[in-house]
Amino acid sequence: MVEFDHVTKHYDAPVKRKDGKTTRTPGAVNDLSLTVPAGKICVLVGPSGCGKTTSLKMVNRLIEPTGGRILIDGVDAASRDVTELRRSIGYVIQQVGLFPHQTIGDNVATVPRLQGWSKDRLRARSDELLSLVGLDPAKYRDRFPNQLSGGERQRVGVARALAIDPPIMLMDEPFGAVDPIVRDRLQNEFLRLQEELAKTILFVTHDIDEAIKMGDLVAVFRDGGVVEQFGTPAEILANPASEFVARFVGADRGLKRLALSRVSDLDLVQPAIGVVGEDAAGARERAQAAPFGYLLLVDAARRPLGWIPEGAIPASGPLDPALANPVSPSVNKRTTLKDALSMMLDADVQASIVVDRTGAVQGIMTVERVIEMMREGEHGQPFAVVDDEGVPIPGVPDESLVAEAG
């Protein structure tokens, strides 16, 4: 756990502009209080110069705060030996900072080597780490950094930071220097890795989409190191605490929320279902009682075959697959609502069939259910943080959210 306790960083010399006016020094931090629960990724996001990187660097004391304390598992970072403190914290930066004169294997083993591990152990560990980040040790171990692509270098940077399995990691725009496709892949891989590793991570980015994707918790900074809002991505998207946050999150925050939610978050509608060969009379009754006037025809394994309008169901005889209209695209519970809605728009349908891994019908998702879910997430108080009872607390980061997430 990492706690910022009223942390302040002031720079002595204010920046003088050409017109003679002075402006606030970029990177200053004012009275920052924030708790990053153990095992979570906390993203610090904001425009450049907002103090997010300064805040990060105060944790491993590359920058010393001018006021307040940073507690790491309850111990004041300032009281610890600075070298020992830094070696105990993984550190990843945007330009990676691999040592050009050392092989990839040696680069990865940097911190263990500083700690005096034996050669055999160093070699075994760096091979293990390279495999962990998806690089074949036999192929990469003896290369130099300038022989790697940007994406490969970023992976090595992550491997190096993980070398002595530090409980805490600081990541400053770790995927910022690669193209969007590689970045997306690295983000996904890192999230998968984090599921196993469960590190306590402070992650700095200026990209709100990355923040929403990577963060268990997101702290939105504005100039001067002030946290405008601190909460889960869903909470920040649903209820931006201020106009600044709403603007920073972007006009498409509704779509962003959809990207965060999955079909499993919805209450599915249960349609009337008829199995092929079943007697039509009973099926017809069920279709009439159903929420909408269609029967979903499935095969013996409950796999969807198509829709039959209520009026087209014969009064008697077995249900025939020829009666069914072709089926609309199906989604599964892991599909994001954004993807599901996109598919529905594409297919020009109001509802989509949700199937499980075997292809069997689980229910129907409808546009109405999606809209209902979106509405439920909002507290109906634009730009205000609310407490458990729904009472707005203007301008105060919502602490209850932190406790929940922890």
Partner: protein, 222 residues
């Protein structure tokens, strides 16, 4: 001079001992100043990296030292050290400083900022970072300076012959050749010092390849 061959090979063959001795002296006269100059300028460059303010004055002073004519420098030092190797080595050392201080300092300045930040963030102490990161990464520019200093010093060292017979190097041949109107000595002194400069340069390039495999590693995928 009339009737004398331009190069008297018989003389060379009969004086091979002398030639080898002068050559060894010349190597010594060149290597000592470069080694001393490198150590001094390494210290100055590290100082300048830590305290950027000292860089300007250090370069200015080594520039002034560089402008002192070598003959004048020898003349000034003879009263102090006499006709000794020290008198020869001191000016030759100071002449290397201008080149070496600049190159050593740019070597350190060329270490990428992200590399320094990563090293600091991972818990390198200042000394560890200097020894394991900054120094190795400064090597290519340092060696560029050393090459220049070695070649320059090999040439300049011929002037030291005026100081005496016991350590005069190849310059001794040239001086004697001029005094006795014996071109063979002039040629052998000049040709050997040029050859020595080429050989030294070649060896340093070889050494650089060995020292910095990372700099020559192909950027292409293997």
């Amino acid at each position: 001079m009339e009737g004398q061959p331009l190069v008297d090979f018989d003389w060379i063959l009969s004086h091979l001992d002398d030639v080898v001795e002068r050559l060894v002296q010349h190597v010594q006269l060149s290597i000592i100043p470069v080694v001393l100059g490198f150590l001094i300028s390494l210290f100055l460059a590290i100082w300048a990296v830590r305290q950027p303010r000292v860089y300007g004055p250090v370069v200015a002073i080594s520039g002034i030292l560089y402008t002192i004519p070598s003959i004048a420098a020898f003349a000034l030092l003879i009263p102090i050290f006499g006709l000794t190797l020290i008198t020869a080595v001191v000016p030759l050392t100071t002449y290397t400083l201008l080149i070496l201080v600049r190159n050593n300092a740019s070597g350190f300045a060329a270490v990428p900022a992200d590399v320094l930040e990563a090293a600091e963030g991972m818990g390198y102490t200042r000394w560890e970072r200097m020894r394991r990161i900054e120094l190795p990464l400064a090597v290519p520019l340092m060696i560029a300076g050393i090459r220049l200093a070695v070649v320059t010093t090999i040439g300049l060292a011929t002037v030291a012959a005026i100081l005496g017979d016991s350590f005069g190097g190849l310059g001794q041949f040239i001086t004697e050749g001029l005094q006795t109107f014996f071109p063979t000595k002039i040629y052998i002194g000049a040709v050997l010092s040029v050859a020595l400069a080429f050989l030294a340069d070649f060896l340093i390039i070889k050494a650089e390849r060995r020292l910095t495999p990372w700099a020559t590693a192909r950027a292409g995928r293997v």
